[in-house]
């Protein structure tokens, strides 16, 4: 009984994770400009990966394999901001239309 509940919860997480990734892809089409689209992709990086891997952990729990999924989550969250930061920097340095795409503000 408890196993079925855990599997069902895992399935819900997996399904929501797939929905989050679908939304992220939709966001890539809906948003204009590179920097805005990166925010849509970030939804998949953060929420999507979290839901999919929590689903995987629940499917395999309680084994050491499920903890490996936690390790994957950690590595994804450590590396993805570095890649995002470099892409964003490259875009702001090279884009000729940056001022029309977003307003600059100093605080």
């Amino acid at each position: 009984m408890a196993n079925s509940i855990v599997t069902a919860v895992g399935l819900v997480f997996l399904a929501f994770g797939v929905f989050v990734f679908f939304t992220a892809v939709l966001g890539l089409y809906r948003f204009d400009y590179v920097l805005n689209r990166m925010h849509a992709a970030a939804v998949g990086d953060a929420l999507g990966i979290f839901c999919i891997l929590v689903g995987v952990i629940l499917f395999h729990a309680p084994t050491l394999s499920s903890l490996k999924a936690l390790l994957i989550l950690m590595f994804m969250w450590i590396t993805s901001p570095v890649a995002s930061h470099l892409i964003a920097q490259a875009e702001t340095v090279t884009s000729p239309n940056l001022k029309s795409e977003c307003k600059e503000e100093r605080r």
């Binding site: 989050v20 939304t23 992220a24 939709l26 966001g27 809906r30 948003f31 400009y33 920097l35 805005n36 990166m38 925010h39 849509a40 970030a42 939804v43 990086d45 953060a46 929420l47 999507g48 979290f50 050491l64 394999s65 903890l67 490996k68 390790l71 969250w77 450590i78 993805s80 901001p81 570095v82 995002s84 930061h85 964003a88 920097q89 702001t92 940056l98 795409e101 977003c102 307003k103 600059e104 503000e105 100093r106 605080r107």
Partner: protein, 154 residues
């Protein structure tokens, strides 16, 4: 550091056993010695880091909560048709002193969907926000407050 390496060995082995534990302990000890000689790790430094574990875990819990919430907010923006978003490129200064705390702040900002750290030089950060609503209070964020607290415990 030794315990972390040993835990990682067990985790990647995928099963627990006498052989795995003995070989894991030997390899972890060798790696730890190498790290002490070449990367400047020391038992005293590890003990200092251990004191910050509690605060670090609380910070991580807060970060995950914010990441998930920001993800939902951006998802709502994706499905809101006809909404006039006002993307902003915001420059602000942080009063965090250490390089590691500033890097952690930049990472936290990038990990929360809706804001991306474009550049960080010394204490000056440049952040791109998808909408003005997502950029409110960016310069005095809770992340910064928690990191400052961790920084003071060094």
């Amino acid at each position: 550091m030794f315990i972390l390496l040993f835990g990682l060995w067990i985790l990647l082995s995928g099963k627990l056993g006498f052989e795995i534990c003995v070989i894991g302990a030997a390899v972890s000890a060798a790696l730890y010695l190498l790290a002490c000689r070449t990367l400047g790790y020391s038992p005293a430094g590890d003990l200092r880091a251990l004191k910050k574990v509690g605060g670090g875990i609380l910070y991580l819990i807060y970060l995950v909560k914010e990441m998930l919430w920001a993800g939902l907010v951006v998802m709502r923006l994706i499905y809101t048709k006809g909404r006039n978003m006002e993307p902003r490129l915001i420059w602000f200064r942080t009063d965090l002193m250490s390089e590691s705390a500033r890097a952690a702040l930049s990472d936290a900002i990038t990990l929360t969907a809706g804001t991306i750290t474009v550049s960080q030089k010394d204490d000056l950060l440049c952040v791109h926000a998808l909408d003005t609503s997502l950029a409110k209070g960016l310069e005095h964020s809770e992340f910064e407050r928690k990191l400052r607290k961790l920084e003071k415990n060094v």
